[in-house]
């Protein structure tokens, strides 16, 4: 017989989305349990580790020396021919400013959840959902050190990331088309030559449908990784092959030594149409709240996690855990980020069709201009003056 436990809310997954949901729920007085299938919250670091500063305040995270590895002033967009434009931190979006130790970052958020009153169980894998007679989720089944558990709660938060089993078990359609999946691999290279103040994004056919990142973790080390689109890679040429080929061509990287390899996948499609079911909310990567251009998901995971934690409290106050009541979760996260997610998805769909020649010409057109004050119209004008034939391709994008 499985051991039965009763909670007000069970959170599956202790990444940023799960921890923020657990913190918020616990702060609101709910008896909160967060489970994590791995033995080690935060590891492995499946992430480029670039992070903006501006949003942290909004979700109540204080920048902490423990997880800030390095600070950068901007990012360089590098064309296939090696020419580049440099963007300031503000222009470079959600992935520039801090380069973090994601494992320690995640651990810190989990600690904050615990300090707010949440309980955690690591090495505790969800194996299914428990449903009542009407199909509503009323908890999860889990395995913890060989023991079968029934973790009962009227509301469950699925923060189980890309793999997202909980949503499927509950009957939410989470299937991804190959074109909406990027497969990724990253190395931590030490002893490399870089401009410590600038992160790099390398575009073009060297990373089909994605990009190669070099996010600096110190003056001579970086998280160097790649994401390539499943529908665009040649046969079974793996992400690893593309990344190794790139490093081979760059002596400043090739001289480095790799101290960690991590692989994974990320969705680059639109967020799910349905992120709540009776007794269940999906947050972050599990709900596909990923910026399709950068593949970044931490910011949206934190924001949606926090919203879910608060809605869990409102459910308990109202005594209503049904999908209709949970529309407030759908409404709030969509108001916060959906428009941006859709906009970036549309732009990404166009971006991945551009040839190396077009990337080269656009970046070439922008040489020598101060990017700080540039508008999209300026970009078009500059490209127009140098490469009129390319402008047509860019118009939809900009």
């Amino acid at each position: 017989m499985p051991e039965v436990q009763e909670w007000d809310v069970v959170v599956v997954g202790a990444g940023p989305g799960g921890s923020m949901a657990a913190r918020e729920a616990a702060r609101n007085g709910l008896r909160t349990l967060m489970i994590e299938k791995r033995q080690d919250i935060g590891a492995p670091v499946r992430c480029g580790e670039g992070m903006a500063r501006v949003w942290l305040d909004e979700v109540g995270i204080t920048p902490d020396r423990r997880w800030i590895a390095h600070e950068v002033k901007g990012a360089r967009i590098v064309a296939p021919n090696g020419k580049f434009v440099t963007l300031t931190e503000e222009q470079a979006g959600n992935e520039t400013g801090f380069v973090v130790h994601r494992d320690i970052f995640d651990r810190t958020l989990a600690e904050a959840a615990v300090r707010a009153g949440a309980r955690t169980m690591v090495k505790c894998a969800a194996t299914g959902v428990i449903k009542d007679g009407k199909g509503a989720v009323i908890g999860v089944r889990a395995r913890h050190w060989g023991n079968e558990l029934e973790l009962r709660a009227p509301i469950v938060v699925a923060a189980d990331g890309y793999e997202s089993q909980v949503g499927r078990w509950a009957g939410i359609e989470t299937k991804l088309a190959p074109k909406d999946i990027n497969t990724c691999i990253q190395y931590e290279l030490v002893g490399i030559d870089i401009d410590p103040d600038i992160n790099e994004f390398h575009l073009g056919s060297q990373s089909p449908g994605g990009y190669i990142w070099i996010f600096n973790k110190s003056d001579d080390s970086a998280n160097v990784g790649i994401g390539v689109n499943l529908a665009m890679i040649e046969g079974r040429a793996q992400a690893k092959h593309y990344l190794d080929r790139f490093i081979e061509k760059h002596p400043n990287l090739k001289k480095g030594q790799n101290v960690e390899t991590v692989a994974g996948a990320v969705s680059v499609g639109l967020p799910l149409d349905q992120t709540a079911a009776d007794g269940l909310m999906l947050v972050g990567d599990a709900a596909r709240m990923i910026d399709a251009i950068t593949g970044g998901g931490v910011v949206n995971a934190c924001k949606s996690g926090m919203i879910a934690g608060r809605v869990a409290k409102e459910c308990h106050e109202a005594g209503d855990f049904g999908r209709a009541f949970l529309q407030r979760y759908e409404r709030r996260w969509r108001a916060e980020m959906e428009e941006q997610l859709i906009r970036n998805y549309v732009a990404k769909e166009k971006l991945i069709t551009l040839s190396d020649d077009v990337f080269n010409k656009v970046v070439d057109s922008l040489q020598g201009f101060k990017i700080e004050r540039i508008t999209t119209r300026d970009v078009l004008r500059m490209v127009q003056s140098r490469y009129p034939e390319v402008v047509k391709e860019l118009e939809d994008l900009l």
């Binding site: 499946r46 793999e163 999946i181 692989a263």
Partner: protein
């Protein structure tokens, strides 16, 4: 690498990652997506 990319990619939910072993159940339709998504090419699809 045990990263779980294949588990999340499987269109029929036929894969589970049990510590270091990827298990395939009877639902498998041999579409091969898991072999494509694997960042290090560790999976192979043998139809039998």
């Amino acid at each position: 690498m045990h990263c779980g990319a294949c588990v999340g990619t499987c269109p029929v939910n036929a894969l589970t990652l049990d510590e270091t072993v990827v298990r395939v159940n009877d639902e498998c339709i041999h579409c091969g997506l898991c072999t494509v998504v694997c960042p290090v090419g560790a999976l192979e699809d043998k139809e039998d």
